[in-house]
């Protein structure tokens, strides 16, 4: 036989000869567990006195498995767990021999818990020593938190050990994560087994009763060191006694004693969390609690009126939020109790009371006045505010994603039920949670993803119909579900984006892009307005520029003020954008109309009178315009930049929180430099363009700005439910919404058409007025200067001196623009 072949044979023989040595920990644990269950099943299913074939050697494999490397590792790192494992196997064997179902079940519960306890100790120790292979091998013996549709088993331990193997996580950190993940799982398991034992006891299922109680007591042994560290030795000893009494009562089938012990255990565990939350997790839960709590009076007020339920759906939402509050509060209770136990008790009591109010209203048992709910909310809120450390007072965007998820779930349920009004309400809620929560931050990091999310909420994105369109058309629930799945995917991506740290370079580039993008928008507007201010009217640019510059510090100040009062304005938060949009449109319509009608016209007269006196034209223009005009120009310049400025500051704040001030300032400087360059180029180019062409450009630009602003404002009003949504069967690309404010709904397009009609109509109205009021007609050649204003919104007015005789009329824009004489030369400094 050749040496390699001999070696092969020897190895195979060795392999068959000593399987237990080679078997990994999970396999040995599985063997023990399965052997015990097989024995238990035989006992369970066998009739009284029936011969059981495998009694004699049933647990041999299990007992053998404990020896070898498995037992040695346990003896080294978890001797007490090994002792408990051996003792429970012995107890199992004797119970089996007696045909004692209950004793065997209890022994099995103890054995399984001892396996978990031992594996926990070995895995944590191995992780702490940097032995990732051993840690991963023993981690496979773990149990998991009960999985539901909404909660997934923890993966932190696995992730940490992978990270350690890859060199990304230090051993102490990995050990901490393993410990934390497992403690969380076992505290959860302890609770589920306590409940299971209680149910089995009530139904008289004795073996299950004993096994579940033994498991609960066994999991206590895993948590005990952490409990002792948090609560002290005396309390830990007392709790240990309660668990011992609990498992003994279950074996004895004494339900009353079990219930009494369980009550004591629950009291012992009140506020105890074995796996302490990280500061970020605590802040997130505190944020959830605060946001959910603040939403309750709003939902209650919207859902009830004068002691009756008006919108049941709002109360459903309130119930969901209250459930969320209870979970978050339970998670924080232990930590808060260390700060002020009396306050925690008071908050707990008030939360129960609040839950009672909501449940009663939801079930129409009793409807308390909304003032009572509000007062209770305020009291809880004040107490929590006093309790929460400062670091908990900003829950971050995670909370908003949670809120979006709750609202989307309700949307699907309502659509399934054909309750389309409710579905639309839920959609608007979800959208508002997104828009006023994580959107600014996300826009700073990934504006394209914002477009996707918004598209899915509204008119479609990623090849899916938008939810607004689907709800409006009463689409099949499966279509709604399809889009909500896409939306969930997009929101998951968004959550990952905003949750991840970013490099300094990325932040600088993002900040620069934001400033540059918003800066360009402001330049566009200012350029559109100032384009025609040439010659004598050049002076009128100054107040616009000053207003624009003033808007920069005002944007920062505005943001600070908004943050300061946001708490009290929060309930109106989702409506703020619509109101601001409406104001902006009103300002644009009124100021521009007034400005162009009056200023251009009167300035033209001034210019006409002082023809040939260009040096004094500026003063004349200022005088002609008057104080009101100058103020109007300030307002115009200010509002044009302030809107963009506020938006910019909001986005930048998200970046600043993520990356720090210095990095953001660097990006802002870059962006401002780029904006300044483009601005200079624009205004220089503007001066060189022929005046006649500039008139056309100005008219088009201003009409464009108005068109976009009206479309976006109408969309915002749909967002807060002030305008209905009637979708059109047109497939506009997403960029048309982003850049043109064009959305496929009757309301948004209708508003835009109306806005344009208003502008054009005012010109024709002016024309009609001119022709019908018998003003003396001006020679066409003299009338050209007012054409720019006429092109936008023609008007006729009197001169500042009020003399009808000195008034002039404005020629139609077409006439002025096509006038080959180009009278602008007379007023232009270049003439």
């Amino acid at each position: 036989m050749s040496p390699p072949l001999a070696a092969a044979v020897a190895l195979v023989v060795l392999a068959f000869a000593a399987p237990a040595v080679a078997a990994p920990p999970w396999q040995i644990a599985d063997t023990i567990r399965a052997d015990l269950f097989d024995a238990q099943t035989e006992l369970l299913l066998a009739g009284p006195g029936e011969q059981r074939a495998s009694d004699a050697g049933a647990l041999d494999d299990a007992e053998r498995a404990v020896s070898g490397a498995f037992g040695r590792d346990l003896a080294r790192d978890a001797p007490s767990a090994l002792g408990e494992l051996r003792a429970s196997l012995t107890a199992a064997r004797s119970s089996l021999a007696r045909g004692d179902e209950v004793g065997l079940a209890a022994a099995r519960g103890r054995a399984i818990a001892a396996l978990r306890q031992g594996a926990f100790a070995v895995a944590v120790k191995a992780a702490g020593s940097g032995h990732s292979r051993a840690a991963r091998a023993w981690l496979l013996v773990r149990d998991f938190r009960q999985s539901t549709r909404f909660t997934r088993p923890g993966v932190d331990a696995t992730a940490a050990l992978i990270g350690m193997a890859d060199g990304d996580v230090e051993p102490p950190d990995a050990a901490l994560q393993v410990r934390k993940d497992l403690l969380d799982a076992y505290q959860s398991r302890l609770a589920t087994n306590l409940d299971a034992a209680g149910q089995a006891g009530e139904r008289g299922f004795a073996p299950r009763f004993a096994e579940a109680a033994a498991l609960a007591a066994g999991y206590w042994a895993i948590l005990e060191p952490e409990y002792r560290a948090q609560r002290g030795t005396a309390e830990a000893t007392a709790t240990g006694r309660d668990f011992a009494a609990l498992s003994r009562a279950a074996v004895d089938g004494d339900l009353a004693a079990f219930d009494a012990a369980r009550e004591r255990v629950k009291r012992d565990f009140s506020g105890f969390t074995a796996a302490p939350f990280t500061p970020d997790e605590q802040a997130r839960r505190a944020g959830q609690l605060t946001r959910f709590l603040d939403l309750i009076p709003i939902e209650y007020r919207d859902g009830t009126e004068d002691g009756r339920v008006t919108i049941p759906f709002e109360l459903q939402e309130a119930v969901a939020f209250h459930d969320g509050i209870e979970q978050s509060f339970a998670d924080l209770q232990s930590e808060l109790a260390e700060i002020d136990p009396a306050a925690v008790t008071a908050v707990e009591r008030d939360l129960d009371k609040l839950g009672g109010y909501i449940d009663d209203a939801h079930e129409r048992v009793a409807i308390v006045p909304e003032e009572d709910v509000e007062a209770l909310h305020d009291r809880i809120s004040d107490r929590l505010d006093g309790l929460f450390p400062d670091a908990w007072k900003d829950g971050g965007s995670e909370v908003d994603y949670d809120l979006v998820a709750i609202a989307v779930d309700q949307l699907v349920a309502a659509a399934n039920a054909g309750e389309w009004d409710q579905a639309e309400q839920a959609r608007l809620s979800a959208y508002a949670f997104f828009e006023f929560g994580p959107e600014p931050e996300l826009r700073a990091f990934d504006p394209g993803l914002v477009v996707d999310v918004e598209g899915l909420f509204w008119y479609g994105a990623r090849d899916s119909e938008g939810l607004a369109a689907l709800i409006s058309s009463r689409a099949a629930p499966s279509e709604v579900r399809e889009t909500t799945l896409d939306l969930t995917d997009a929101l998951d991506e968004a959550r990952a984006q905003t949750g991840e740290g970013t490099s300094a370079t990325t932040t600088i580039v993002n900040a620069a892009m934001i400033v540059f993008r918003e800066g360009l928008e402001a330049i566009l507007i200012i350029a559109a307005i100032t384009a025609s201010m040439v010659g004598a009217r050049r002076e009128l640019r100054r107040p616009i520029y000053r207003g624009a510059l003033l808007a920069l510090p005002a944007s920062v100040a505005g943001y600070v003020i908004a943050v300061a009062i946001l708490g009290s304005l929060q309930r109106y938060g989702e409506k703020v954008e619509a109101v601001v949009g409406l104001l902006a449109v009103a300002v644009l319509l009124l100021v521009l109309n007034w400005f162009f009608h009056k200023v251009y016209w009167t300035e033209w007269i001034a210019g006409h009178r002082k023809r040939g006196k260009e040096l004094t034209a500026g003063a004349a223009a200022g005088a002609a315009a008057g104080t009101a005009t100058v103020a109007g120009l300030y307002v115009l310049g200010f509002t044009s930049v302030f809107r963009e400025g506020m938006e910019t500051v909001l986005f930048l704040q998200a970046l600043q929180l993520a990356s720090g001030t210095a990095i953001v300032v660097a990006g802002v400087s870059l962006g401002l430099a780029g904006t300044a360059l483009v601005g200079l180029a624009t205004f220089k180019l503007e001066q060189k363009l022929p005046y006649k062409r500039m008139l056309v450009v100005t008219g088009v630009l201003i009409a464009f700005v108005l068109f976009v602003m009206v479309g976006n404002t109408a969309r915002s009003m749909q967002g807060v439910g002030w305008l209905p949504v009637h979708t059109l069967d047109v497939d506009f690309p997403l960029w048309m919404g982003t850049w043109l404010g064009v959305y496929p709904t009757v309301e948004t397009l209708g508003a835009q058409v109306l806005a344009l009609m208003f502008v054009v109509g005012s010109y024709y109205a002016a024309e009609w007025y001119r022709k019908n009021k018998g003003r003396p007609a001006a020679p066409a050649a003299q009338a050209t200067k007012g054409a720019s204003s006429s092109a936008i919104a023609g008007d006729a007015t009197r001169s500042p001196n009020g003399s009808p005789g000195s008034g002039r009329t404005v020629a139609p824009a077409s006439e002025a623009i096509s006038d080959p004489a180009d009278q602008s030369q007379a007023l232009s400094p270049r003439s």
Partner: protein, 364 residues
């Protein structure tokens, strides 16, 4: 034989004897980048489409029987006493055929339920076909309502298997003919399982069922499963064992005929459904196991072994019951608890595998 080949052979031989790690072991930095192309999941799709086609066929048969039964009832102006008096043999034949179609359709669906219910993009079919409640529980209610031929509308009446089964087996008084003894086998006595469906409801329910089955079949044809779909379906579906065992405990099979709390699961034992569902899950797991094994051989073996054990456990109980063994509620509770514990462990393990592979599990 080269040294490499010798070691490979040794490894294969040793693996045959007991599971030791031969390839990359857990945590050795040899992790693979998973992508949707990494696993060939065509077999999962074939499995799904075969079953969806069979379901469509069986439900089509069921609808045909329901329509024929409706025509009979209409011919006597829905006077059910007269229907049984004048057309009992025809009624017997149509309803027996309908029951047979139901019994065929049920495993066709259950065997693929692990995939349908576990994949978020298909799971709405599970709500409507097999799992959804009626309108009293809006969060889990079915998405459809039934409009009967006389214009009556039944808002979100419950899932389609529930509607058809409880109508055919007569366990839901709301779905059967009123004020008449449902002696549908014409033998002069009424026994458990004899039901005379309300023909209008039965017709509308089977029409909806046929439409949903057809739509599911079409979507299944268009579905391209990814590793994320496969892992998500296992994680979502596996831990539902306690619910199924809980239902089993309350069916006539355990609680006794007439004492059951569940109106459904009278035609086929819930144990059979459990075994069928696990078959689908095990099939799906087998397709992604190579992917997991490449990353973590021990994890792959552990999950495979526990899944097989769970599958064998459920199949054993099903076979015992089919052979005439009856289980007490106490036994059902104990067995169900163990099944649930194993299932949750499997779901937990697959979740870890997804993490190791960097595969995102989908929100259900």
């Amino acid at each position: 034989m080269s040294r490499l080949r010798v070691s490979s052979v040794l490894c294969v031989l040793a693996v045959g004897a007991f599971p030791v790690g031969c390839g990359s072991d857990d945590g050795d930095g040899s992790r693979t980048e998973a992508s949707s192309d990494a696993a060939q999941l065509a077999a999962v799709k074939d499995y799904l489409t075969d079953h969806s086609a069979q379901l469509t066929q069986a439900v089509g048969q069921l609808q045909g029987n329901a329509n024929a039964y409706y025509d009979l009832a209409k011919s006597v102006d829905f006077d059910y006493a007269k229907l049984l008096k004048e057309h009992c043999p025809e009624v017997k034949r149509q309803l027996a055929d309908a029951k047979q179609a139901f019994v065929t359709a049920n495993p066709n669906y259950e065997e693929m339920e692990g995939i349908v219910a576990g994949v978020p993009r298909l799971s709405h079919y599970d709500v409507d076909i097999d799992a959804g409640s009626d309108a009293s529980d809006p969060e889990s209610a079915v998405s459809f309502s039934l409009t009967l031929d006389d214009g009556t509308k039944l808002k979100q009446p419950g899932n389609l298997f529930f509607l058809t089964e409880t109508a055919l087996w007569g366990t839901n008084p709301d779905l059967v003919a009123k004020d008449v003894e449902p002696d549908v086998d014409c033998d002069g006595k009424v026994e458990f399982g004899e039901g005379l469906p309300d023909a209008k409801i039965f017709k509308a329910a089977t029409a909806e069922f046929a439409a949903q089955a057809k739509s599911l079949d079409e979507d299944a044809q268009a579905f391209e499963p990814t590793p994320s779909d496969a892992l998500t379906s296992i994680v979502v579906m596996t831990p539902t064992m306690s619910e199924y065992f809980g239902q089993w405990k309350n069916t006539a099979f355990v609680a006794g005929k007439g004492d059951q709390k569940e109106q459904s699961f009278v035609a086929t034992s819930r144990l059979s459904d459990i075994a069928d569902i696990l078959e689908g899950i095990a099939f799906t797991y087998a397709e992604v196991e190579p992917l997991i094994a490449a990353e973590s051989p021990q994890q792959a073996r552990q999950t495979k072994r526990e899944l097989k054990r769970l599958q064998a456990f459920a199949a054993d109980l099903r076979d015992r019951e089919a052979a005439g063994e009856t289980f007490t509620p106490k036994q059902a509770d104990q067995l169900g608890s163990e099944a649930q514990a194993r299932a949750e462990a499997i779901a937990g393990q697959v979740t870890q595998s997804a993490q190791q592979l960097g595969i995102e599990l989908q929100e259900s």
